[in-house]
């Protein structure tokens, strides 16, 4: 992968429903980052809902058909690979591809050679041939593998130096491993590497793939409150300034529902959490020097900017201290040399103060 930000790569793009509403900033920042890194995204024409959780809980063929329709639309404009930011859409689309390839209904009890053809049933619903090759891939995987960490690092203009981030993948992005075939299912590192390339300090976060409570926010709020509070508590314990998210539903639970989570935590005698929960594409966009408006920072319930300011201030202070210590050391060495008592190895030059030329993101 060349180190330039002009990777020429064109992919189909499936935003998914959340990205037109509650997670519009995820959509906007994903598009902006891809554009900045030379990935051209072509919207799947006339895309529809992937089927999401309701479809496959009712009928696998229906779920397959809903997802397959979108893959077919992508195939029609010549794109076999479809990027999507949403892990849930990703699961629906990849499951459809897998079931079409295996051609057996997952809930069928019939022996393998007698099971009805999944493809035939899907084609009956679609009223046209089902897609043959198309499959989906997450925006994170495109960035980490197709663009590459080195290319991202070289495209970073405003490194997030000093910002401590807890990478939160959610339970779906890498799992089940046989379906997603990306990164380690128990201890994934792709997001860690992307954020490190952005200059951020990634804390050792043990709850990378813990469940946030997902859609339980509706039927059983208490479960979602308990699970999301655990995740925020751990991120806070690990000393993170922000918890970085890759899933619209996780982000809703950790950001929009923060008040509910804090209510619960308070009732349990716990603390309240103030760390923001942005999408990774928003932080990546900032590091790439993109405008805040392109990243939808204003859509976050918990404002990211004060944390960034604080991290920057802290980093500048630290850099000044380091510089002062280094200066003192060189001065002491020079003095010792003047005395003529020292003839040892030359000391390393002290690291220069941090990137002062960085204007605040505005």
């Amino acid at each position: 992968m060349s180190g330039s930000a002009t990777t020429s790569l064109t992919l189909g793009y499936y935003p998914g429903c959340s990205q037109t509403g509650t997670a519009a900033e995820y959509d906007r920042s994903s598009r902006a980052c891809c554009q900045a890194l030379g990935v051209r995204l072509v919207d799947v024409p006339d895309w529809t809902c992937c089927g999401s959780t309701p479809a496959h809980t009712v009928d696998h063929v229906l779920a397959g058909a809903l997802a397959a329709r979108n893959l077919l639309q992508a195939e029609r404009i010549g794109h076999d690979r479809v990027a999507t930011p949403c892990p849930s859409c990703l699961a629906a689309l990849r499951t459809a591809s897998q079931h079409l390839a295996q051609d057996v209904q997952p809930d069928s009890n019939a022996p393998e050679d007698m099971a009805p053809s999944f493809r035939a049933e899907v084609e009956r619903l679609l009223d046209r041939p089902a897609p043959l090759r198309a499959s989906a891939v997450s925006v994170l995987q495109v960035l980490a593998e197709d663009v590459g960490i080195a290319a991202i690092a070289s495209a970073v203009k405003k490194p997030l130096t000093g910002l401590r981030v807890a990478p939160y993948y959610g339970c779906l992005l890498n799992r089940p491993p046989g379906l997603m075939a990306f990164d380690d299912p128990e201890n994934p590192t792709a997001l860690d590497r992307v954020l490190t390339a952005c200059g951020a300090t990634v804390v050792d976060f043990p709850f990378k793939t813990e469940c946030c409570g997902a859609a339980f926010g509706m039927p059983r709020l208490d479960i979602m409150q308990r699970l999301s509070a655990r995740i925020l508590d751990m991120a806070d314990t690990c000393g993170a300034d922000v918890i970085v998210v890759a899933c619209p539903l996780c982000q809703m639970n950790l950001d929009l529902r923060r008040g509910q989570v804090n209510d619960h935590s308070r009732r349990q005698g716990g603390r309240e959490f103030s760390l923001p929960a942005p999408y990774f594409t928003q932080l990546l966009g900032l590091a790439l020097g993109l405008a805040e408006a392109d990243l939808g920072l204003d859509k976050l319930v918990l404002d990211l900017r004060p944390v960034l300011e604080a991290a920057r201030a802290r980093e500048q202070k630290r850099a000044l201290e380091v510089a002062a210590v280094a200066a003192a050391k060189t001065a002491a060495k020079a003095a010792a040399k003047a005395d003529g008592t020292s003839g040892q190895k030359p000391g390393k030059p002290g690291s220069e103060p941090g990137p002062k030329e960085d204007a605040p993101c505005a």
Binding site: P185, E186, N187, D204, P206, E210, M234, T237, C238, G239
Partner: protein, 668 residues
């Protein structure tokens, strides 16, 4: 030619779905058949007597028996025809049980198929020729690869039986995994105290030649006459001079080398003697870490050695030994626990493997038998054991049971309670597999006498509960899992987590299998010849298996198999001469064009090219090495190689017999 046919009922096994009488009746019409009958049990004493009597009475030249698989009774019937004065290869078997009766219930079509198979056997028999085995001399020495407890046991048994033993071990000392263990289950014996005397015996036995720091490079030859090349890696210390005093260890400046004998929980020096009871107790330099080799500096050990034994210019040595048989006892390695990310092994210092814990428990280990957490050296008050890490887990491609983890986990839990009486021990398990003498009782003791808490369920995640900013360390580890008996989630705050890692094939096992021309399974364990009845033999004659190189095994099972392998070798080499199987490839020199394709395809190295006086080359079969697989004969472009007893004419006769009957049935 006069041929007799006997169709066996095998009780109801065959007769229930094949009309045996009809098959016998049909067989009477086949060419050269002068007699055909059916019998309730052809393999029974009366059955064999009938065969012998008929051969004598009717002056038969050959016999066909239609019954079970040749793997069952071919030898039985060959002996019977031999007793009646025929050559044992003038006999053919038609498998009408496994290939017909057991796989279909259609009596009419079964009978037709059985008749076809008998017809084919008769046609093949018409081309059979008497074959005679040849005999050859053997070397009365045995090569044993690997000197863990299995290799040690096999070596001592063979040596006591009067064979010379060449024992090869790739590590610096013999002893294997058992020498790393603190105690053994279910008796809580001191492991190295039990093993030590045997190690000393190996070191002192006049019939055992020990090569440590050595590996087998190449094995050629055949049963009775193997030739093995052994690479003796240079220890950079002259072991004839070294006294094992240890002066070099004290002065060596590179002290940060991970100690392999202690599973990396402490460090050692670049020049080492792995442990106090090591055999041979000699020092060796690891050139990958020694400053002399990596930086070209230092030389301290050479200066301090009182025996002047250190020699930095020492080279590897390649030895050749001739042996009559080989026992592989290369043992096992442990599953890499960092592959299970959910347990945090490799990320959190207080998550350790069972063997690391074993070193900690050992009085001769780095903590002198005191249990200390790696992170801060504190004594743990809650220890959680997680069973089946890398066993019975398809997600990490280890679907098999490692067989001994349940037991050593119980042992370690008991020892934990012994060492720290106020500590709590928890075991997360899937099932408890305690099939062995005294094993179940041992588990009960752990649960009842030692109050070890057994929780049936898998662990979902191990994570640090708290820690200073920037990363959790120092605090406790939370172990979250399921209790499937209660149907509840459990969380236990642990000071130390011990992963009961499962067994893997020793690294390099598949490569060794290739050198030895034996097979291994998908996981690298060596394949036995038959899982029930030939558990120590391999499919290469003269090569035997001992211990965990065949499958995960505990100490008693390894020792038992080692003695069994030694018994097999002693029986094999008790004869001065061996007989070779005559069902082997034969080269028709007139036809051979010397292309050498057969030499390249032979998986046993049984073909070599011989140069004639005019300089041209011809293939030649080494009769004692050939296993009669037939690959060469299908490879040969000019059909110059024929497999005796399975010649082209014989196979074509069978095919013709089959096709002819097919023609007849379709026409009618």
């Amino acid at each position: 030619m006069r041929i007799g046919v006997m169709v066996c009922h095998c009780g109801n096994n065959i007769a229930a779905t094949v009309d045996c009488e009809a098959v016998a009746l049909a067989a009477r019409e086949f060419p050269d058949v002068v007699f055909a009958t059916d019998h309730m049990y052809a393999c029974s004493d009366p059955g064999q007597k009938t065969i012998e009597q008929t051969i004598r009475d009717l002056k038969l030249d050959g016999v066909v028996v239609a019954s079970c698989s040749p793997r069952m009774h071919e030898v039985t019937f060959r002996r019977a025809v031999e007793r009646a004065g025929l050559n044992r290869y003038m006999f053919e078997m038609a498998n009408i049980r496994e290939h017909v009766a057991w796989i279909s219930l259609d009596r009419k079509r079964n009978t037709e198929k059985a008749t076809d198979l008998v017809r084919m056997a008769v046609e093949k028999l018409r081309y059979d020729r008497p074959l005679t085995a040849k005999s050859f001399e053997v070397h009365k020495r045995v090569l044993i690869i690997g000197a863990g407890v299995a290799g040690i046991q096999a070596a001592l048994d063979c040596a006591e039986g009067g064979l010379d033993v060449v024992l090869v071990e790739r590590r610096q000392s013999i002893g294997g995994i058992m020498s790393k263990l603190d105690k053994t289950f279910p008796t809580i014996d001191c492991s190295v105290c039990v093993l030590g005397p045997k190690m000393v015996d190996v070191g002192q036995h006049p019939r055992i030649t020990l090569h440590t720091l050595s590996e087998v490079e190449e094995l050629s030859g055949y049963v009775g006459n193997f030739e093995v090349k052994i690479r003796k890696k240079s220890p950079f210390v002259d072991w004839t001079k070294c006294t094992g005093c240890g002066a070099c260890l004290e002065k060596c400046p590179s002290k940060k080398v991970p100690d392999r004998h202690n599973e990396g929980i402490c460090t050692t020096t670049a020049i080492t003697i792995p442990f106090p009871q090591a055999i041979p107790k000699r020092a060796a330099i690891d050139p990958t870490v020694c400053l002399r080799f990596t930086k070209g500096k230092c030389g301290v050990c050479q200066k301090v050695c009182p025996a002047n034994a250190v020699d930095y210019d020492m080279q590897d040595e390649v030895l050749t030994e001739k042996v009559g048989a080989v026992i592989t006892a290369t043992g096992l390695d442990l599953f890499d626990h960092t592959k299970c990310g959910e347990y945090g092994g490799g990320r959190y210092p207080d998550v350790i493997t069972s063997l690391q814990y074993e070193r900690m428990l050992s009085a001769s280990g780095p903590t002198a038998g005191h249990i200390k957490r790696p992170s801060d050296g504190a004594e743990p008050k809650t220890v959680v054991f997680i069973a089946c890490v890398g066993s019975r887990d398809r997600s990490v491609d280890r679907p098999y049971c490692s067989t001994f983890c349940c037991m050593y986990t119980a042992k370690q839990a008991i020892l934990t309670r012994d060492h720290i009486p106020d500590a709590k021990a928890y075991v997360f398990y899937m099932d408890i597999r305690a099939c062995g003498k005294g094993y179940e009782e041992f588990i009960r003791r752990a649960q009842e006498e030692y109050d070890v808490q057994y929780i049936r369920g898998r662990v979902a995640q191990v994570y640090p509960t708290s820690g200073p900013t920037g990363g959790p360390s120092g605090g406790q580890l939370m172990v979250r899992g399921a209790d499937t008996l209660l149907g509840a989630q459990v969380e236990i705050a642990a000071d130390l987590v011990v992963l009961a890692v499962g067994a893997e094939a020793a690294h390099g096992a598949p490569e060794l299998a290739e050198k030895l021309r034996i097979s291994c399974d998908a996981y690298g364990f060596f394949l036995e010849s038959h899982p029930k009845l030939r558990p120590v033999e391999t499919n290469t004659v003269g090569i035997f298996l001992a211990g965990a190189c065949q499958a995960p095994k505990d100490i008693p099972a390894s020792v038992a198999q080692a003695s069994a392998a030694a018994g097999k070798v002693l029986a094999l080499l008790s004869k001065d001469k061996l007989e070779s199987d005559p069902q082997i490839a034969q080269v028709q020199t007139i036809r051979c064009i010397g292309c050498g394709k057969c030499e390249r395809t032979c998986p046993f190295g049984a073909i070599r090219m011989r140069e004639l006086r005019d300089g041209s080359k011809r293939a030649e079969v080494v009769e004692t090495v050939c296993q009669g697989c037939g690959i060469c004969s299908v490879t040969c472009p000019v059909r110059a190689i024929q497999l005796a007893h399975f010649t082209d004419s014989q196979l074509l006769a069978e095919v013709n017999a089959l096709c002819r009957t097919w023609d007849e049935t379709t026409e009618s």
